[in-house]
Symmetry: C2
Subunit: 268 residues, 2 copies
Amino acid sequence: MAFHGSTLNAQSSAADCRHLIRSGAWGGPTAGLAARYVQVNLVMLPAAEAGDFLRFAQRNPKPCPVLAVSEPGEFALPEMGDDIDLRRDVPRYRIFEDGQCMAEVGDIVEIWRDDLVTFAIGCSFTFEHTLLEAGIAIRHLDEGRNVPMYRTSIQTHPAGRFGGGMVVTMRPLKAVDAIRAIQITSRFPGVHGAPVHLGDPALIGIADLSRPDFGDAVTIAADELPVFWACGATPQIALLQAKPSLCITHAPGHMLITDRLNHHYATL
Amino acid sequence: MAFHGSTLNAQSSAADCRHLIRSGAWGGPTAGLAARYVQVNLVMLPAAEAGDFLRFAQRNPKPCPVLAVSEPGEFALPEMGDDIDLRRDVPRYRIFEDGQCMAEVGDIVEIWRDDLVTFAIGCSFTFEHTLLEAGIAIRHLDEGRNVPMYRTSIQTHPAGRFGGGMVVTMRPLKAVDAIRAIQITSRFPGVHGAPVHLGDPALIGIADLSRPDFGDAVTIAADELPVFWACGATPQIALLQAKPSLCITHAPGHMLITDRLNHHYATL
């Protein structure tokens, strides 16, 4: 094995990360690991309920950008990497039955079913990596917090039982950085793409930026604009509300690390 | 000749426009004529003073995007169109001596000099055409006014005697349209490119949006952001301040209509 002890960091390879996670030696969050590689949100649903969800995602690509979908029962995901085991390569999984979280576990080998379809959904880690490379500071990273997330009055386009309001992340930026960030994230439609709003939060139904619905508040300077991107929490909440008989996801912040480079998802 | 009477309009070809202008039958502004074709600002300087100006433009491509430069004394401009006569194809010219406007004339055949270098500078007409195609309304066009222009505290990078503050145009847009407009205009670096600012005008030294320094004020709705683009008035003012011995420009709004399609200047 290529492990250098049992420490993982930003320079680790995606394969090393997955192997250590699979061995059970790493059960923590994946933020900051293997920084050049795409991390994805996972949603697993029985095939009977997967069709509606895929249609929901197709209609809402900004909050729900699907990068890969497995065949039913398939626990490899060759589009995203060699030797991925979807049952064991995420540090922590959450198991939902009828919309209720029933357990949080380190692997799902025992409960795997032959009808499970896995969705790999793009994550803002990818565009944040690219913003940082462009010299744009990201406030919540500098302040050591989770990105602030807000429910909005922007409605998703429903499909079957899936629907509801869009959740957004917010990053405060000076105008010149906001313009540059719009350019950069526009190149990455597979990981939420361009912002959905900037400026006055009340226009999208956010009453108070200092009180996010999820994550942590961050400092906003007087010369900064709040810039809002569609967030992967949108499908998570749609799933809670749709109450499928079974749904397995990664635990928040405990993502699947793939072999795809962040730059792979730049459209140009 | 291919004229259809002496009327020119948005559907006219660039060549028809130039021929009618050259004949003296059209002396008015060119806004709205031959809408698919690039119109350019012209600046003509003696070769001895042209080097500084070109260096100024190279350092300030957003307010001063040079699309073509003639050889000294050349009054064709084959890069921008067939059969262009720079001495006669603009409806009105202004002649400046030592920074003072001495005359406004319909052609410059009599005063042409063999050392004159002509700069063709991109104009926001091109990106406005593309915004309109994308379904983004432009307030000053809807209100039948000139675009509002403002002096700012953003300093240009000086070269020789050329320098001073950047002038910007302002278009009020809803956030989603502002984001889309940033994407679209980013594709057109040859015609001012992406905005230089959006949001709070005080941050770039503009005290009152209702009192533009040039052009006309326009309505700004409560759910709109002011979006600011670098403006070709920047080099005009730099020229007035630098006081070259001779400078010939188009009269405001009386541009050279070229054979280049607006889409020719999209970088992608």
